[in-house]
Amino acid sequence: MKSIAAGLHVKMLQNKEAKLLADWLKNQTGSHTFRPDLIKDSELTEQSRQFLKLFLRTLSQETSDEIMAAEWSDVRDMLGDVSRSRALQGFTPSETATFVFSLKEPLFTVLSTELKNDPEALADGLWSMTALLDKLGLYTTEIFQKSREEVIVRQQRELLELSTPVVQLWDDILALPLVGTLDSARAQVVMETLLQKIVDTEAAIAIIDITGVPTVDTLVAQHLLKTIAATRLMGADCIISGIRPQIAQTIVHLGVDLGEVVTKATLADAFAVALKRTGSRIAASQGAQP
């Protein structure tokens, strides 16, 4: 924990704030990492101005170069916001980190002009600045990474929720439209959701529609059979629908025995059977205007 013994440098830098900002902006917009398609000039200027102000203000408070310390919280929050927004806007990590790293050159220029006559102070100042900016740059990358990971985790969760909807078609009739590949983890979620829904709705018949399942191999068939067996144990019946011709061929070629499970080509057929079994009927009303 080294205090930045550069109170005088900070004064000096603050006097040159306008020039620093201008140089820094020029640096950023001139760099190949500048993305005019993703960020507006005005926004960039505002971000840079705000960061520079906070940065210099924090420096002037006799702070240490430990950026996780409390004095740096304003700068950290600001950088965090910038990184997060850039992560969502589609910047790359280097483009994001350049925001901080491109400040080095203007800073060094100012320091070396002002401290021309004191090489020792210049070396000292340069070193503490470079160490500090490196830390801040790494921090932006860390936040960038973190916000990307948050997006991934959220998407995974949403995907799992999306992939197992159990819908009630009628009194006593549930439908489970499966979309996507059925792996073991998903099959488990599907089974649990379906069984719980059967308990909740006291449904007598569940229709599993596999129109959206791209391939049915022995493993998928086994998962389906397990789900059907568990449903039967709960006291409900299962119908499989949406079996495409290719899948019917695969099932037979693989030698999968679906046993006494009722299978239908379309969800509509399965629904008709389910209605019949539960004693309901849908009929066209007579004389109704379309």
Binding site: E192, I198, E202, A229, A230, R232, L233, M234, G235
Partner: protein, 121 residues
């Protein structure tokens, strides 16, 4: 010694399992139930396992056995109220209880028994 009560409801026998099933209890139930089916000349047995939240392979097999014995004694067995976790466990254990009728709750189970007995007459 704990025993699971067997209630007579009209033509049928009703067994409600409300305690944790241990092996000895299951064996007693098997004895008692077969005796009662024979003495009451029942045509249907309803086993309510809605309070059962854990099963092992022994209990699973016991339920299948009871159903088999009842069938030999000319009675239908309906197991009702199985919890999702129990159903999943039984399937994973490879005990899908073939030949045992199931229903969601006691009411539906009774209706199913009535219907099965009607069909046989």
């Amino acid at each position: 010694m704990d025993r699971i009560p067997i209630l007579k409801m009209g033509k049928f026998l009703l067994v409600t399992i409300q305690v944790d099933m241990h092996d000895q209890l299951a064996l007693h139930l098997q004895d008692d139930l077969t005796t009662r089916i024979a003495s009451e000349r029942s045509h249907g047995v309803l086993i309510d396992i809605s309070s059962l939240d854990m099963v092992d392979s022994f209990i699973g097999r016991m339920i299948a056995n009871i159903a088999g014995m009842a069938r030999v004694l000319d009675a239908e067995t309906v197991v009702v109220g199985m919890r999702p976790s129990v159903a999943i466990t039984l399937v994973e254990l490879g005990l899908p209880l073939p030949g045992v009728h199931t229903a969601l709750n006691v009411e539906k189970g009774m209706a199913l028994l009535e219907q099965r007995v009607q069909e046989r007459l």
